[in-house]
């Protein structure tokens, strides 16, 4: 990978007639991801104080579910209008963020009061509401926060209906499809990129909270407990996650020009299948590997870092999950580790590293 200066890049694009004329001024309007995270977090703090104001001065809103729903919807609509007409003004955007977060809290309060706190239908309603906001509201930080809330609400709804394992698998599939098409859907990048990052975090959340006793969000305690359904859900989740891992491997190999009949692609597929089988008791590993691979393929260091982060966090939490004894978990991790190292040895044999003098490295 090369790191070209803007001038060098423009010259190269000129050479192959992809652009014409003078280079436009390079002013990057986008703040780095951590500045956006900081602004989002500060917006959330502002929202807490605004909610305090509503609770103290307009307490009648919080005493009635209808009033909460109406007030929440009005405040969120107002925030959406602020984003739409703010023309990028920082104060307006930050005010819109805090206002919208406060409005969302009011609306979610109204939903849960209406349907029953922590119920599956309540979570589905929250997921639809948040997904709608992610699609409509024109702001990257807001899109990221609402897409995350939508995905997490969906995973809590599936938990409530007794099929929790499907959530991380479905979110991983969405992550793979979205990031795989980052460049072909580049015209929708401002919409899809923040959603893509949020889904990565939601996959980490749902993989980590799987098999924990409490879902710990909006008082959810789980509804259906059908052992047969749970087993089907578990296998479906593992199979779907593994299929996404294999799909990602094959598609990335194809992007590098290797067809399914070429030896490198077939070797990668066999290695991925072996890793997926070895780690079937710890599906979070396949999710983490998918994110790391996509991050590297798209030259996106933040995504690669998030993949590594999700692997570390998953392994830390995996210890406390209740689906298997530590002995079985240990066997799963050791088998996956050995499989990865065997794949590395196979890689060395089938695709030897070549140094600059054209000699094979030992």
């Amino acid at each position: 990978m090369n790191t070209l200066s803007p001038k060098q890049l423009w010259d190269r694009l000129l050479e192959i007639n992809l652009v014409t004329g003078e280079m436009p001024p390079t002013v990057d309007q986008h703040a780095p991801w951590f500045v956006r995270v900081m602004l989002g977090f500060a917006g959330w703090i502002g929202a807490l104080f605004m909610l305090g104001f509503v609770g103290a001065s307009l307490s009648f809103i919080m005493r009635s579910s209808s009033a909460s729903l109406i007030a929440g919807a009005l405040v969120c609509s107002g925030a959406a209008a602020i984003f739409r007409f703010s023309q990028g003004k920082d104060f307006a955007i930050q005010f819109g963020l805090a206002t919208s977060f406060a409005g969302q809290a009011m609306f979610i309060f109204g939903i849960m009061e209406t349907f029953r706190w922590g119920s599956g239908f309540g979570y589905i309603a929250v997921a639809i509401f948040e997904a709608g906001l992610a699609a409509i509201v024109v702001n990257e930080i807001h899109r990221g926060a609402t897409a995350f809330a939508a995905a997490v609400s969906l995973s809590l709804a599936l938990s409530w209906y007794g099929i929790p394992h499907l959530a991380p698998a479905l979110i991983t599939a969405a992550v793979a499809v979205l990031w795989m098409h980052e460049f072909s859907w580049a015209d929708k990048g401002s919409v899809l990129r923040p959603i893509g990052y949020s889904l990565v975090l939601a996959a980490l959340y749902s993989n980590s909270t799987l098999f924990m006793r409490d879902t710990a969000w909006l008082l959810g305690r789980g509804g259906a407990h059908n052992p047969a359904l749970s087993m089907i859900s578990s296998w479906a989740g593992v199979l779907l996650t593994s299929a996404v891992f294999l799909y990602t491997t094959v598609r990335l190999a194809a992007r590098e020009g290797f067809g399914i009949n070429d030896r490198p692609a077939r070797t990668a597929l066999v290695a991925a299948a072996a890793i997926a089988i070895a780690s079937f008791k710890a599906p979070g590993i396949a999710t983490g590997l998918v994110i790391v691979l996509l991050g590297f393929a798209n030259a996106n260091r933040v995504l690669t870092g998030l993949g590594i982060f999700s692997l570390i966090i998953y392994l830390s939490i995996y210890y406390y999950q209740l689906q298997a004894t530590l002995l079985i978990k240990s066997a799963s991790l050791v088998a996956t580790g050995i499989m990865l190292l065997v794949a590395r040895i196979a890689l060395g044999r089938l695709w030897p590293a070549v140094d600059h003098k054209g000699e094979h490295n030992a």
Partner: protein, 298 residues
């Protein structure tokens, strides 16, 4: 992206997959071994368990010696050896009931892997050592909450962690000028994040509980920390991540100060005012950070 050379080529892919398989494989193996010994399998005698842990450690160290710490596989084996040292110590304490406290286990672990950390020249190994010392300090105060006085033990713990992490950060930045392998930014950013989180928490302690003995120290240390972050990461090493952390810390501390000042004011007007101040301050901070970011890209 492909034309601009922004996407990885075949040799980039080869190197990346090689590193990914090596590090993920090594870490999963090491974590799997931890899980295995934590299971405390009764089918395996204590002596056999101890022998197995020693054998695994021996293989990892011998492998590292064979490949050398310059090679990636040697570094990975050294990292695994450092983790297995902790497993062996825990197993030793469990088998012989040494009576040692858990903080002693982590401290001994940190001391034992220090020589490897020095020769390994691997940021991840240094971060493991720093994490072990942090854990040891935390566990020490959990076991001896009353050693320095019951009321102030939490603050003492946070102060000690803050001083340790800030000093480590300062040393890291100092040495990274001369030592190339220390220049990876993730490690100092993690240390800076930890240091900032701790001093911000201490500032909030001082604001909401003004009776304690550290108010004056916090009133001096917090602005000094902010100033140091500004000078270091605005003028010496440009690092927007840590500057953004500083901005967030200011927002939290100002909101806490205002909340404390307005705690006796009835009605919600004060809360709305604080919310608007938070919005204004964070927007200003965001504008400032974006301006610095644009200067950096020119």
């Amino acid at each position: 992206m492909r034309t601009a050379g922004g996407l990885p080529g075949k040799s980039d892919w080869r190197g990346f997959i090689d590193r990914l398989l090596l590090w993920a494989g090594a870490v999963l193996l090491a974590v799997g071994v931890i899980f295995f010994f934590a299971y405390n399998w009764s089918e395996l005698s204590r002596v056999a368990r101890l022998g197995l842990a020693q054998l695994l450690l021996f293989i990892a160290v011998a492998g590292c010696g064979w490949f050398g710490t310059e090679q990636p596989i040697g570094k990975a084996l050294l990292f695994v050896s450092a983790i297995l040292t902790g497993v062996l110590l825990a197993l030793f304490g469990q088998t012989y009931q040494t009576g040692a406290d858990t903080y002693e286990l982590f401290m001994t672990w940190a001391v034992l892997i220090l020589p490897w950390t020095i020769v390994g020249r691997l940021p991840a190994l240094w971060m493991l050592l720093i994490a072990l010392v942090n854990t040891a300090i935390t566990l020490y105060f959990m076991i001896f909450p009353g050693f320095f006085g019951l009321i102030f033990s939490t603050e003492k713990e946070l102060w000690l962690l803050f001083v340790f992490n800030t000093a480590t950060l300062a040393l890291w930045e100092l040495f990274s000028r001369r030592v190339e392998w220390l220049r990876e930014r993730w490690a100092p950013r993690l240390l800076g994040f930890s240091s900032g989180g701790l001093i911000t928490t201490l500032a909030m302690f001082a604001i909401f509980d003004h009776r304690h003995e550290y108010v004056a120290v916090t009133a001096i240390a917090y602005p000094l920390w902010l100033g140091a972050i500004y000078v270091c990461y605005r003028h010496r090493i440009l690092d927007l991540f840590l500057l953004a952390g500083g901005v967030l810390s200011i927002v939290i501390v100002v909101a806490s100060l205002l909340a404390k000042a307005m705690e006796h004011i009835h009605g919600g007007g004060g809360l709305l005012f604080i919310g608007l101040i938070v919005v204004g301050l964070s927007a200003l901070g965001g504008m400032w950070l974006k301006k610095i970011g644009q200067e950096g890209t020119r």
